[in-house]
Amino acid sequence: MANPDLRRTDRLNGWLFVMPALVLLGLFMVFPILWSLWMSFQTGRGMTLKFGGFANISRLTQDPVFLHALSNTAVFLVVQVPLMIILALIFANVLNNPNLKFRGFFRTAIFLPCVTSLVAYSVLFKSMFANDGVINAFLEGVHLISEPIPWLASPFWAKVVIIMAITWRWTGYNMIFYLAALQNIDRSIYEAARIDGVPAWARFVYLTIPLLKPVILFTTIISTIGTLQLFDEVMNITASGGVGGTPSDSTLTLSLYIYNLSFRFMPNFGYAATVSYVIVVLVGILSFVQFWVARDRK
């Protein structure tokens, strides 16, 4: 097949096949990315924008709402992502045991939350965590608490609800990746370790986790990007009267702030674009750090 004529038609056909996608990506991806970068240097309201240089960037550092959104997002990231990854790893490890009874049932049950839409499960959580709702009723019923917990009214508990909600929705999703990866690991490694008297927890820490490192890295990056873009939950669980991020902005995230800046208040597209680039930069930095932490040390 080293015929130069054939190679040329291959190349021509290849470009033809790729072209529709490239044109669309140029229009709806590359162009908006560049436009938004340009916009982040513009100030003004509505559609009348003028060049403001670094005005938006210096505004970021003095904007208490932005700093609040940034720190909320950081809390979600630092608490939720490790919690979920560890839970998913443990479940995958337990459910990988072929001698476990009802394995299929447990796997399906833990995975099931992934089939819900983010908005639908959010409204379920909102009603479950109502002040007199089913969660408080249960906790009072088993005498774990004597007063109802103000889940959605307290800044602290509202964050806890969001973290629990995301963990509920995504743990099974991550678990599936680990289960698939575990099936590719040669079981004889485990047998050898077991015969050598290595206890189960040590096999998990010193064998499973290092062997799964590439998948853990992948899921951590995906989860980080997802959490940095957190929107649906804080717009629907911790919201009242159509305003998300309640109470008193305690669950306001960067994405929600961008939405508020652009579409809830008098639109401020330039500044909103600057905030969106904060997410781009954070995704870049965190992905780099995660790659660096997971690199092969030789």
Partner: protein, 273 residues
């Protein structure tokens, strides 16, 4: 293994922990179904047994929402979006594999880099573009930006690597043109890949929230996801109605999940293969 009391304790604890996790995972589904039969006041008071308000809730839902219209909007966006995304993105995935040139790798690397650009950074320019094109409040504005999906292109390119080159060579010797090979050889052989990709794209379209929230402004255009959200965002939401809407929003994806369980999981895993 058998007579060791410590191992027995460990196993009991494992089953207890798994049962608890399964219970927590399933409870919200039960809550949703029970909720459709209860009044809003009962739901907020945490009533977890079945009630008798199902017909009232369904009737109220149909009175407040043009259900057929909303369901049609969601289905239209999801189905048309899925078909177009499959066509354009699988064509590109295949094209990238047959395209043996250095530029290809550069373009592909750039695409992968763009995969990590969050939607928040795109939505403002996209909104302004749609405003200029007069597409605000149309379904086209929802479908168009999603057709060329980097993730799905990547998925198809990875899968195409397993497509036997001999098949393509044989088809060429038989005198088939490239588009014929794609249509009559590649497409049937790659059916499992298409099935998995269909699930990913359909779910993403059906559940899409932020972009439709921005673009779709009148009730006539709204999707079921937007309706669930707006029913809940009232100061005093009628949770009985909300539960009925949530069931309608979740049902299609649950049906797809149980019908195609294995493909479904394969679809989610597609990215790492």
């Amino acid at each position: 293994m058998t007579a060791n009391p410590l191992a027995l304790l460990g196993r009991t604890l494992t089953y207890l922990a798994l049962s608890l996790a399964a219970f927590i995972s399933i409870f919200p589904f039960y809550w949703m179904i029970v909720g459709t039969t209860n009044t809003s006041a009962d739901i907020i008071k945490g009533k977890s047994g079945f009630g008798s308000a199902l017909f009232t809730n369904v009737a109220n839902f149909f009175a407040q929402v043009d259900v057929a219209r909303v369901f049609w909007n969601s289905a239209y966006i999801a189905v048309v979006g899925t078909v177009l995304t499959l066509a354009v993105s699988s064509l590109a995935g295949y094209g990238f594999e047959i395209l043996r040139s250095k530029t290809r790798e550069r373009i592909f690397a750039a695409l992968l880099l763009m995969l990590s650009v969050p939607f928040a950074a795109l939505m403002i320019p996209l909104f302004m573009m749609m405003a200029k094109l007069g597409l605000i409040n149309t379904h086209a504005a929802i479908i168009l930006p999603a057709i060329a999906s980097i993730f799905i292109i990547f998925y198809f390119r990875q899968a195409t690597k397993a497509f036997p080159a001999e098949l393509r060579d044989a088809a060429k010797i038989d005198g088939l043109k490239e588009w014929q090979i794609f249509l009559y050889v590649y497409l049937p052989v790659m059916r499992p890949t298409y099935a998995a990709a269909t699930i990913i794209i359909f779910m993403a379209n059906w559940n899409n929230y932020l972009w439709p929230l921005i673009v779709l402004q009148t009730n006539e255009q709204k999707t079921i996801t937007l309706v669930v959200s707006s029913l809940t965002s009232a100061y005093y939401p009628d949770y009985g109605v909300v539960m009925v809407a949530a069931v309608l929003a979740t049902l299609p994806t649950i049906i797809i999940f149980f019908a195609l369980q294995r493909r479904f999981v394969a679809g989610l895993l597609g990215a790492v293969k």
